[in-house]
């Protein structure tokens, strides 16, 4: 027996279905009933029920690309704020290799970077790196904060949504999995008024 339909809005503690359904993300099982643990929308696939949250915090995952702000410069690494309950670190050797350079001459406190999560350790601290296409420091633009759960909706199916926005607005848009979006207007020359 199921009590909700696909895409219904549910709240924590709401009973979604009976025993024959499987609890997915955002749900839990208690006394033979599947209940929601979040405020969000129901997603039904076969006999598995999930709740897609409307609001959430980013938890670092290996392989994600994120946008982060340099918080602190330390002896051999940078502390990075990645809009999450867990902080990120960018080790110096990820940037320089074996070379020794002064860290604050390369990236200083307040700089915003596009990074990849290389590894997440047991205390959920994210180790970040810059190896990959398009990764590095942002020069100009603004940062917009959206909920991490809405990132897939912004990107759309195979990037259809994000590509349309990019083309129509003539902006350079970079989306991080952590819910931060960088927007930079592409101007070849100043337009005549």
């Amino acid at each position: 027996m199921i009590y909700v339909e696909d895409k219904n809005l549910v709240i924590p503690g709401q009973i979604l279905a009976d025993d024959e359904y499987y609890p997915g993300r955002g749900t839990f099982k208690e006394n033979g009933k599947v209940c929601s643990s979040l405020i969000g929308l129901v997603s039904l696939r076969n006999k598995k029920i999930r709740v897609i949250p409307l609001k959430s915090k980013y938890v670092p995952k290996k392989g994600d690309v994120v946008i982060g702000k340099i918080d602190d410069v330390r002896f051999s690494m940078w502390d990075v704020d990645i809009n999450s309950p867990y902080s990120g670190i960018l080790p110096a050797f990820e940037v320089f290799g074996r070379d020794k350079k002064e860290l604050n001459k390369v990236y200083d406190v307040g700089d915003v970077l596009f990074l990849r999560v290389i590894d997440v350790d047991e205390v959920k601290k994210a180790k970040l790196g810059l190896k990959g296409r398009g990764l590095g420091k942002f020069k100009g633009g603004i940062i917009v904060d959206i909920s991490p759960t809405k990132v897939p909706r912004l990107i759309g199916k195979k990037g259809s949504m994000i590509n349309m926005i990019k083309n129509k607005t003539n902006c350079k848009i970079v989306v991080g999995q952590n819910g931060l979006v960088s927007i930079l207007l592409k101007l070849k020359r100043i337009l005549p008024v």
Partner: protein, 230 residues
């Protein structure tokens, strides 16, 4: 006897008028505003966020902290600002009442902060604070088993009544505030002040449970109203 009308015209099992609104603050992760009778309460929730107090963090789960504060102008005589014995107690019992409902296993070493500000007080602020705080927690997207709800019952003029007002609390003989998880009916907070017989105590709990169920519906309505447009 149950047809008795109270000082403010309510029946023995009638709540004061309640208004709940979710997501009222821009900068907080979650927030709620609640009015019940003459009470006006604003709650802000921050987190789960990085625990900046190392001694508090738990390696396998998140922790919650709660601060209950009354504004100096919230009562008739000016209240001296800052924490006192009463507000420290309420801060603690509020955190204890909410903790069983939270599912912070996916956010180890994190911290959730709840700030309850009483702007105007008119009896039963601790229950109102718990009610508003759980709405704010849902608004923040914190995973929870259930939405905790608080309500009080008491004894006034030898009669067990629901949801005491300030006058009834001061002149009454007893006050029993409770908080429950409405889906299962589990009690997460139970206090008792004053003298009650065993039957009266049982009656007060039953009455308060009934009140909690009514308030719970209003909590759900407030959340649905806020999010159904998105």
């Amino acid at each position: 006897m149950s047809e008795m009308i109270r000082e403010d015209g309510r029946k023995y099992n009638e709540l004061r008028p309640i208004k709940i609104e979710a997501g009222v603050l821009e900068r907080a992760d979650g927030s709620a505003y609640l009015e019940v009778g003459g009470n006006k309460i604003l709650v802000a929730v921050y987190g789960p966020r990085e625990s900046y107090i190392r001694r508090l963090l738990e390696p396998n789960t998140g922790v919650i902290r709660c601060r209950y504060n009354m504004a100096p102008f919230s009562v008739d005589d000016r209240k001296r600002p800052g924490p006192d014995r009463r507000s420290s107690e309420i801060s603690k019992i509020t955190a204890d009442a909410l903790r069983p409902a939270l599912m912070l296993e996916n956010y180890p070493r994190s911290m959730v902060d709840i700030y309850i500000e009483v702007i105007e007080a008119e009896g039963g602020t601790r229950c109102a604070g718990i009610t508003a705080a759980s709405v704010a927690l849902v608004d923040a997207g914190v995973p929870m088993k259930d939405i905790v709800v608080g309500c009080a019952a008491g004894k006034v003029n030898d009669e067990v009544v629901l949801d005491l007002s300030e006058v009834e609390d001061k002149e009454g003989q007893a006050d029993v505030p409770i908080a429950i998880m409405p889906r299962t009916g589990e009690i997460t907070l139970l206090q008792s002040d004053g003298d009650l017989t065993e039957e009266e105590f049982q009656k007060a709990i039953d009455l308060a449970m009934e009140g909690c169920m009514q308030v719970s519906e209003l909590q759900k309505e407030a959340l649905m109203k806020k999010y159904s447009t998105e």
